[in-house]
């Protein structure tokens, strides 16, 4: 049960964040941080089907996380779901076509190892 929930969280989080990044990238840089302007931007953004799907994924991941916290400690839950870092970085290169140079790969690898160790 624990590991099923972990797998569900990793899959749903990665899908959700990828969809979100895809939408925000195509939206373009947000310049205006006044509350009214931000409200209009997010009003439009939240009507996009990608964002709707991404929120659905994040809701699945959120409730799976709550369920996981009932059967395991936070010190198990957070690190166990940390493999999303690896999955998402690879997908960012493949799907979002981000150009990940050697330095960023090295940094991402260090972070992934660090997050794993932080669990122990």
């Amino acid at each position: 049960m624990k590991w099923f929930l972990v797998a569900l969280i990793v899959a749903a989080t990665s899908a959700g964040e990828l969809l979100q990044a895809h939408k925000m990238k195509s939206h373009g840089e947000i310049h205006d941080f006044r509350p009214g302007a931000l409200g209009r931007v997010f009003g439009r953004v939240f009507r996009d089907p990608r964002v709707f799907l991404s929120l659905l994924c994040m809701a699945v991941s959120f409730f799976a996380f709550l369920a996981l916290l009932r059967v395991a400690d936070l010190s198990f839950a957070v690190p166990a779901t940390a493999s999303t870092y690896v999955v998402e970085t690879v997908l960012a290169a493949l799907v979002l076509k981000e150009k990940i140079g050697r330095r960023r790969w090295a940094g991402a690898a260090l972070v992934a190892c660090g997050v794993f160790l932080v669990a122990l």
Binding site: K25, E29, L69, V111
Partner: protein, 136 residues
């Protein structure tokens, strides 16, 4: 041009701090509330716990600030940089809650800091901007 780049870096760092703090505090209050909630109770009743509600509010701030950050920064940039939250959690555990932090955990903290140091010195955005404002 360099002024624009400096501005982008400043904006990115500032928002990254908001994203990290909202995430760490949100998770903390959520976990506090879930632990306080009686294990025998139905999961949905835990949602009425004030700490759980505060945690959820902070996670909404986290979601919106993160989406804003993703409107100009790469996912592969945002992801490692915001992992500094783990470092913050470890430091808070050690210095605020007096938890013992193992050598392995400190090693993890060091690796994350080193990794973020590397990623931070890569371009914030590597995909071509397609927003309406970018045409101007």
């Amino acid at each position: 041009m360099s002024g624009r780049v400096a501005r982008l870096h400043f904006k990115t760092r500032l928002l990254a701090v908001v994203v990290i703090l909202a995430n760490v505090l949100g998770n903390f209050f959520l976990s506090l509330g879930m632990k306080a909630a009686d294990a025998g109770r139905f999961l949905l009743t835990a949602l009425l716990d004030p700490w759980v509600l505060l945690g959820i509010a902070l996670l909404v701030v986290w979601l919106l600030s993160r989406m804003t950050l993703l409107s100009w920064a790469d996912l592969s940039y945002v992801l490692p940089v915001t992992s500094l939250g783990y470092v913050l959690t470890a430091l808070a555990g050690r210095f605020l809650l007096g938890e013992a932090v193992s050598t392995w955990r400190w090693a993890g903290v060091a690796l994350i800091v080193a990794g973020v140091g590397l990623v931070q010195r890569t371009p914030i955005r590597t995909t071509r901007p397609r927003g309406r404002r970018e045409a101007a």
